[in-house]
């Protein structure tokens, strides 16, 4: 029942945005609907944590605590970004009057995007999940190219080609899982008697042919890993996330990549039963360490805030992959907490950057100076967000990173922890340096006339609603970090879905 309501709410907002031309009122209504969706997802999470997994529609949809958790993350960040989207779109309209049609399309696609992500985590069939994830690629392509300048076009072209390839590989992986299921325990099973849902896959996992599963899981990690921004097919991510409008970047960086990782986690659970833990561990370690190296080395030379944040997303997905490699219940719980914390903080940072782009007219690091002085609230949120992203207490990222590393060390992956810490220290130094530049650098120096050059932009006020919602987000993150009690039950039971 709750699943139906959640999906219906999402569908309703799609319909609403389809039927009405976008105005500020519609935007506000949409964000209220999204917040209602968030409330329902909390209800779902509560119900599933304290009861059995629920199904609906002839068990087409299925929610255990893992899906409920992902729903929560999706709804949380879409609520956050839809509040900011009002602000962003009003500003776009102010800049260019003839954007009405385009903006209406933008809103429809955004709502479809959220709907597709919800579908991806709530359907029970592996293949339907694949369809939903592919659908997210399709709808977000135009969103990435929203600005329709050269760079945005380039980014969206790269995005759709690379992600289609990745997701296509994942489809073959899915096919081979299915194929393995038709040869259960070495006996040929009629294809139409097999259902492709998680429950039956988990149930049959012991009888799946190990060699087929190895091949299939390799493709799954490569494929969904592409969509999750993991190496080696990660190159679309910095482009797409930096070119998309801020609310979309927030959604993509905050949840979309985690939704793909959710798919990997699900398949990992099956693979672990079929093969034992070592195979998925090795694979995720390779992918995770490679991504971490790449993200670190490329992060150093970034000149633009959104791009820097995008590389940061790769880094965090790598951390998540490493945590998942450890594979104990505690580690997976920490991974999920990290997904939530990273999603929240990254969304906030992208939104703040969007706000900065609106008020300051640029997101280039070298041009942004003494933000803390000029716009104390915005600068403060940005600074706190950065600290949160770097994994400082009291924010939840600290807890999750700490727990992940602890569990990695506990399963004998101490060397991974060492490498991770070194690379994170490098990132820490780089990001602190950039942030110092953006927030504190004294303005009065040689470039004082550049400020005079753009006086009109200076007049723009920081939007109050945005600031408030972002601060609320930060507070939530800190709150989760300090006392994770309300989430603990959900996290542990979700992790149990993976670890069995």
């Amino acid at each position: 029942m709750l699943i139906d309501i959640l999906l219906l709410i999402s569908l309703f907002s799609v319909a609403l945005s389809l039927l009405f031309k976008w105005t500020k009122t519609i935007g506000i209504i949409l964000s209220i609907i999204n917040i209602i969706g968030l409330l329902f997802s909390i209800a779902l999470a509560y119900k599933v944590t304290h009861g059995r997994p629920i199904c609906s529609f002839d068990s087409t949809f299925y929610a255990d605590s893992l899906s409920a958790f992902m729903t929560l993350v999706i709804e949380l960040i879409s609520a956050l970004s839809s509040v900011f989207a009002v602000r962003y779109l009003v500003n776009e309209l102010r800049m260019q009057k003839d954007l009405k049609v385009k903006i209406s399309r933008y809103v429809v696609l955004t709502q479809l995007f959220i709907f597709a992500m919800l579908m991806a985590v709530l359907v029970s069939s592996v293949a339907l999940m694949w369809i939903a994830i592919e659908a997210t690629t399709i709808v977000t392509t135009f969103l990435v190219g929203f600005k329709s300048n050269r760079k945005a076009l380039e980014a969206s072209w790269k995005y759709i080609t690379i992600c289609s390839v990745g997701v296509g590989l994942a489809f073959i992986g899915t096919i081979f899982f299915y194929f393995a299921e038709t040869h259960l325990n070495g006996h040929v099973v009629a294809a139409n008697s097999i259902s492709l849902d998680w429950v039956s896959l988990m149930h049959n996992a012991k009888g799946l042919n190990p060699q087929l599963i190895k091949f299939a899981f390799g493709l799954i990690v490569l494929g969904y890993g592409t969509k999750a921004g993991l190496a080696p097919l990660h190159s679309w991510l910095p482009d797409a996330h930096s070119q998309a409008p801020a609310p979309i970047s927030a959604l993509m960086s905050g949840v979309l990549i985690s939704v793909s990782f959710y798919a990997i986690l699900r398949f990992k659970a099956i693979t672990d039963i079929a093969l034992g833990r070592w195979f998925s561990q090795d694979l995720l370690l390779i992918v995770g360490l490679l991504s971490l190296f790449l993200a670190t080395s490329l992060l150093i030379s970034q000149k633009e805030v959104k791009r820097m944040l995008a590389y940061h997303s790769i880094e965090h997905m790598a951390l998540i992959a490493l945590g998942a490699a450890a594979g104990t219940q505690l580690a997976v719980a920490a991974v999920l907490l990290h997904i939530l914390g990273h999603g929240l903080v990254k969304a906030i940072l992208f939104l703040v950057t969007g706000e900065v782009a609106i008020t300051e007219g640029t997101t280039e690091i070298s041009k942004l100076k003494s933000l803390l002085n000029l716009r104390p609230i915005l600068g403060g949120i940005f600074g706190m967000g950065m600290l949160a992203l770097l994994g400082l207490p009291p924010f939840s990222l600290f807890i999750s990173e700490f727990t992940m590393m602890k569990s990695e060390a506990a399963v004998g992956l101490g060397w991974v922890v060492a490498i991770t810490l070194v690379l994170m220290a490098v990132i820490f130094a780089v990001v602190i340096n950039h942030s110092r530049h953006i927030l504190l650098k004294n303005n009065e120096g040689e470039n004082s006339d550049s400020q005079l050059a753009a006086p009109s932009k200076r007049k723009l006020k920081t939007s109050k609603i945005t600031s408030v919602s972002l601060i609320v987000g930060l507070v939530i993150s800190a709150f989760i970090g300090i006392i994770s009690v309300p989430l603990q039950g959900l996290l542990l039971s979700a992790a149990k879905v993976i670890t069995g």
């Binding site: 050269r150 289609s164 390839v165 096919i175």
Partner: protein, 216 residues
């Protein structure tokens, strides 16, 4: 027994057409080969449907025929008509080397997929490496070509490889999934078409080499 021959033949043709697409430089020839590849795929679906007297598989074959034999090539052809370039003259890797790579890909797919359990023994499953080779060649085209249209063609060859594998290995996916997948694919191609047209208007000749705004 004779019908297996038809399946073998179509699978061979599908792979052959992907090699031809890699080989040719005229975009028109690439598009025609793509259409023929789609037809070869649908032939597999239909012969398998007759072989196994499986009604659903026949539907899949027909759908493949319509989508991959006609709709996709047609959509690409529209982009082609819109563009000014007739040839993709400078792939990142020259054609001779590409051919050698193609043979390496074919070998790889036979060594990897062909050795999987249950694949090698079955008269139909053992064709799965063909699909994997088509997929790898498609990926290679996508990576090494610099024009928008050729990249589109590469992506569709890649997707053809996927559907070749799924046609051969699975007698049938649930129809919902099958159609959902095709629908997604159709949307991808439509989106690509729109993007390609925009890119053609924005960039000279749709040469992606000019896209240097974003890189590290």
């Amino acid at each position: 027994m004779q019908l297996y021959q038809a399946t073998y033949l179509s699978a061979g043709c599908a792979l052959l057409f992907s090699v031809i697409i890699l080989w040719r430089k005229e975009i028109k020839a690439m598009i025609y080969s793509l259409a023929l590849q789609g037809i070869a795929l649908s032939a597999i679906g239909i012969t398998e449907a007759i072989n196994k007297s499986n009604y659903g598989l026949g539907q899949v074959g027909l759908e493949t025929l319509i989508l991959k034999g006609f709709v996709f090539p047609f959509l690409i052809f529209k982009v082609y008509k819109n563009s000014s370039s007739k040839r993709d003259l400078q792939p990142l890797i020259n054609t001779t080397a590409s051919m050698v790579y193609a043979s390496v890909f074919i070998a790889i797919s036979f060594v990897s997929v062909g050795r999987l359990p249950y694949i090698s023994g079955n008269p139909v499953f053992k064709l799965a490496p063909f699909g994997f080779a088509v997929l790898l060649i498609g990926l290679f085209i996508l990576i090494t070509r610099r024009q928008v249209i050729s990249q589109m063609v590469g992506l569709i060859v890649f997707e053809n490889g996927i559907s070749l594998i799924s046609l051969l290995v699975l007698s049938q996916l649930p129809l919902l999934v099958e159609f959902g997948e095709s629908f997604d694919l159709l949307l991808v191609v439509v989106v690509l078409r729109v993007l390609a047209t925009t890119i053609h208007n924005e960039f000279l000749k749709g040469d992606l080499a000019e896209m240097k705004g974003l890189h590290d």
